[in-house]
Symmetry: C2
Subunit: 676 residues, 2 copies
């Protein structure tokens, strides 16, 4: 576990001149970035390329792991795989890789293609990713097309493979791709140093190679052609790998060689893999497995034990800087092996309070509007065409527009839950606005709804409540019951250590701060009362109140963002990664209101009462955000809401007619009716 | 006094869309600025032009004052006048103006020219300034040249005057400048809307005008030609001015008309002014003054009383948004009048922790290195050629170089004290390094030196200790006695209100923070011990240690600034105006070491022991800066210095020889000897 806490610190410390040669490799992009960004990039992991990260981790003796996945067969499989990326990404893999299936249209825009899955991992899950690419039977134009597309999508790493010939009549082509070496050369020739290139190593020799030595010579050719590191085929004995590494070093292969680890997960998957890879399973393993071949749990437990043992030997050899896992798209076995090895990061230190995209263009992104806190993939999608990331401001001439809201069904923005599951959570039938309020309170309190189902998500939050939000649970419960339908909130934080397990982020030795924030939908009646109450809280509380038609009431400067999360770190400038930005709020408003209809109302029949209730809320409620600027004091936003309820419960007496001329009745005043 | 606290708040509040028309008047510069700056401009006063500031203050009923000065005759007079600008600037004038003396080479680069004095006020004292310009007997080319030069120097406002003909044989010229109107037209024709233009009004009519009405018509012509506001000649009765304003309004003059106030300061100056301006002093005033004409104090007291009474009538009339004072380059009477009127800001709220230059190019400057904290004019001078102000970083390609150190004798960088005074303070004769230490402790403690003189300044600090530094007095005293020669320091601040009278800055309702900072010269021996001690304080304390040769030791990133002052304000992004920047530190180092020689050593004879002692310090001492990153804890920098003294007082025992091989004696290690 020793490395866990040290992860951010290491990258932090090595951000020094000794590292400048590596950093300068990333070329013109990096120099452009450094002159652009306002706040310091806290973590060189964000700017380094994969081979430099490996080098640094190797030099510091900080072992890593990586995870291999294959593309799913169905769209719903893709949604599940992406959730898995998010979950497994939290354990801190140095990278993941996505295999290339020539028969599955791997370079297409389909939700299930290798290209799209890898691109999603990079852009939306923030994972350093390697895209596999096979060249056999492909034209140079086709391969260049794939590589150009990969580059365009933000992919920086390629696993260059020959692949299996399709059909039996394959022969070497004169100017074609006959070996992975040809592909490596082609990549370096066409794309210079842009990609990091990985190639495959065969600890027992490639099954088609004339000999083990012949195969080693081919591997040397691949490395000489420009490959940066090697991942091996799976193997079952540590010695097999360690001998292979010695043999590689002996013929002058100096790059990193990562062992491919295959935790045995079941009898059938083992047999299938062995058949495909033409490997032999050692006798001592078969002797254990055959007797328990019908007991999946037992085989998996054995597989975990066997992998842990082998990995320990590998790591202790000093020859292995990191472990590569063939996950078979499953979580449990690989995570258990990693946990037992102490490589899984249980409590990943966050570089920023939000997940950083791994797209090379976005790595220096340093500020985001708070509104998309629970919908980070949507934010990334809607800003994907930006060339430059504004540094706090979205409103001036230098900032590009937000992407249109015309792609709700993009698979990575879909809810993880089925329509049936959503209906169970959000109500098969709604009878009133109150029944909508109850859905919100069930979600907040994690208590079952009237039908006995737990509400695990809402249209604005596809995951259960964040630990930080849990700090506010009682208050949130209370206000949601009365129709203050909260969709985003954060408590105030006055200088907690950056290592705080719940609210901490950034390198150690720093302090993080927050202004309290609350965002909710509520009725026009409530807003009228709220606006009166808010007068008492000037200038302490900033608000923006808007309805679906864009009628907007605010006491904030219309172009000036309000920083609501910031951090102070040793030897650094201030980092302010989250803001309430008035310009982007109006883009968020479109999305926040549309989710009522797209994700909730459309679950019900057209013209049904349930749909009409949601439609009524969509058409008539206001979206409100509140910031308590006085972060060192107790959060006053709950008091604001309490005061609003108090005013609604005990409205002031109607003014006598003779006083009305001097003191106009606020309730009749246009000014008090937002958006009227 | 009601407006004092409201000053920053007003400009803060009005920074909203209702103000965008005014702001957009400043044209392309302002839009460029807004896309460039990283942190928000907190105060629209910094970006507005003078006429917009007047409009906002008039609309809000917030009375202002302004101050008129004439250029000095001698260079030492110029140094004194600039000190006066700093002192009187602290009272919060909306602007100052500098008269134009055709006989005094007013447009030249001489230290005493009108042009240079006005430029110094704008650039180095941060004062909004109006340069007078007379056109009589001048060619268009000459006038255009003056205006171009004024623009180049950052002046934005011109008082357009005809001036008095030189000699008696003046006649109107066909295409020349015959009236101020011609000059106004010329400025608008040649410089479009760049300058704000002021013209003179004569409450009793211009002495040369045919009639009062004729003169009013001329004034109307000046305004119609493009003048933005009017300042009147002095007068002695409020009624005179108020009638004049009514008459102006009656013929359609709508721009602001500011009364010129002349507090009577002495019998002779009154007589002279009256003669020059051809004004009559009212009988009721002469009756008071004549009997006391030899009692300067009595006359001044009467003048103050008379001015206060008249100003009260003017302000209460509702016709007067601001008062313009003819100061005669004196402080006492004008300040007293302003104090009695409640217009003098006793505790000026600071927009940023350092004084903002009024140069249009520099108004959006939002961050400075802490090193020049006591030498802000030097920083402005050395960065005067920058087109763009880096936003925290001085080291990357976008940041221009610092100006050379070849102009020590620039008048505005000169010490305010004479050589004699400096010798009294810093020692007629130095006998040892210790006698230098005593000069520092005398300065810190404000106690007389051995010769009985108070040390009011040091080469690095031309003013007595700042109130903030006074918080550290006892500690500073203690360390200076032992040769830790402090030249800059600030305490840590963990979230004090922005309205704090000592450390506060920025708009109300905010919180300001600081990391503790200490900068000093000290001997190589001390530095060797200090470096050992600092190991215990990693990563809490960042240090930079450099000698005159540029040999540099640091534990900080070599390009990353450390923010040491920042503020959090309602509805804003974080503001971080002061940093410890490693790149600019090496430029500061040149200046800091040079001051030993240029300001101190050169007081003594060449080869004299005194000079040799200073020279020795210059050649052998190190300049050290320390930052305590852990701002919420008690400042640890004093403990660092204490630990250093402790190590020097009780050096560890020499290691036995047999252990030396394994544990190299640090004192002999190259690594421990900075710069060796």
């Amino acid at each position: 576990m020793q490395h866990n806490g040290a992860r951010v610190e290491d990258t932090w410390r090595t951000c020094s001149k000794s590292d400048s040669s590596g950093a300068s490799n990333s070329g013109c992009e990096s120099s452009k970035e450094s002159s652009r960004s306002s706040t310091p990039v806290l973590d060189t992991d964000r700017t380094d390329r994969l081979r430099d990260k490996m080098r640094r981790r190797t030099e510091s003796g900080d072992h890593w792991f990586s995870l291999e996945f294959f593309p799913p067969r169905t769209a719903s499989g893709a949604v599940n795989l992406i959730s898995r990326f998010d979950r497994m990404g939290s354990g801190g893999p140095l990278f993941i890789d996505v295999t290339w299936h020539p028969a599955g249209d791997p370079g297409s825009d389909k939700e299930t293609s290798s290209m799209m899955i890898a691109s999603t991992a990079v852009n939306y899950c923030g994972l350093e990713s390697i895209l596999h690419l096979t060249c056999c039977n492909q034209t140079k134009e086709k391969i260049t097309g794939y590589l150009s597309k990969a580059k365009r999508l933000g992919l920086k790493n390629i696993m260059a493979l020959r692949g299996d010939p399709m059909g039996a009549d394959w022969e070497e082509e004169e100017a074609g791709f006959n070996y992975a070496t040809d592909l490596v050369k082609h990549i370096r020739c066409e794309f210079d140093d842009y990609f990091d290139i990985c190639v495959a190593g065969y600890p027992t020799g490639h099954p088609e190679a004339e000999s083990y030595d012949e195969d080693l010579r081919h591997l040397k050719e691949k490395v000489d052609a420009g490959a940066d590191f090697i991942i091996t085929q799976l193997f079952f004995r540590a010695d097999t790998f360690l001998k292979f590494v010695r043999d590689c070093r002996a013929i002058g292969i100096t790059c990193p060689i990562l062992p491919g680890i295959f935790p045995i997960q079941g009898y059938q998957s083992l047999r299938q893999l062995v058949k495909l890879s033409k490997l032999e399973v050692p006798e001592e393993i078969m002797q254990v497995i055959e007797p328990i071949k019908d007991n999946d749990a037992a085989i998996r437990n054995y597989g975990i034990e066997q992998a842990v043992g082998m990995c320990r030997v590998l790591l202790e050899s000093g020859e292995v800087p990191g472990l590569h896992f063939y996950t078979l798209n499953r979580e449990v076995a690989t995570m258990e092996v990693l946990r037992q090895l102490g490589l899984w990061i249980e409590d990943p230190r966050r570089t920023l309070p939000w997940a950083v995209s791994a797209h090379p263009k976005r790595k220096v992104e340093d500020v985001r509007p708070i509104f998309w806190a629970s919908r980070p993939k949507s934010y990334i999608y809607r800003t994907q065409d930006w060339d430059d990331f504004p540094n706090g401001r979205w409103g001036n001439s230098s900032s590009p527009a937000f992407g249109e809201l015309n792609d709700y069904y993009l698979f990575y923005l879909k809810s993880k839950s089925s329509k049936d599951a959503l209906l169970k959570m959000w109500g098969e039938e709604l009878t009133s606005e109150q029944s909508v309020y109850e859905v919100f309170t069930s979600y907040i309190t994690a208590q079952p709804n009237v039908a006995g189902h737990k509400v695990m998500c809402l249209p604005w939050n596809d995951d259960p409540l964040a630990p930080e939000t849990n700090l506010l649970k009682d208050e949130l419960d209370k206000v949601n019951r009365r129709g203050v339908l909260t969709i985003n909130s954060q408590p105030s934080i006055n200088g907690k250590p950056s290592s705080d397990p719940i609210v901490g982020w950034g390198p150690p030795g720093g302090y993080v701060f927050q202004k309290a924030y609350l965002e909710f939908f509520t009725s026009s009646e409530n807003v009228t009362a709220l606006l009166k109450v808010l007068k008492k809280y000037e200038p302490r509380v900033n608000y923006h109140i808007v309805n679906v038609h864009g009628q907007n009431t605010t006491n904030a400067h219309d172009m000036q963002p309000n920083a609501v999360t910031w951090g102070i770190f040793p030897g650094r400038e201030i980092v302010q990664p989250t803001v309430v930005d008035p310009v982007s709020f109006l883009y968020w408003k479109d999305e926040a209101f549309a989710l009522w209809i797209e994700q909730w109302a459309k679950l019900y029949e057209d013209e049904s009462p349930s749909r009409m209730i949601i439609k009524y809320i969509h058409d008539n409620y206001f979206l409100v955000n509140l910031v308590d600027n006085d972060f060192p004091l107790d959060n006053c936003l709950w008091q604001v809401i309490d005061d609003m309820f108090e005013l609604l419960d005990n409205p002031p007496e109607e003014q006598p007619a003779e006083q009305t001329a001097e003191q106009p009745n606020d309730e009749q005043s246009d000014k008090e009716q937002p958006g009227k």
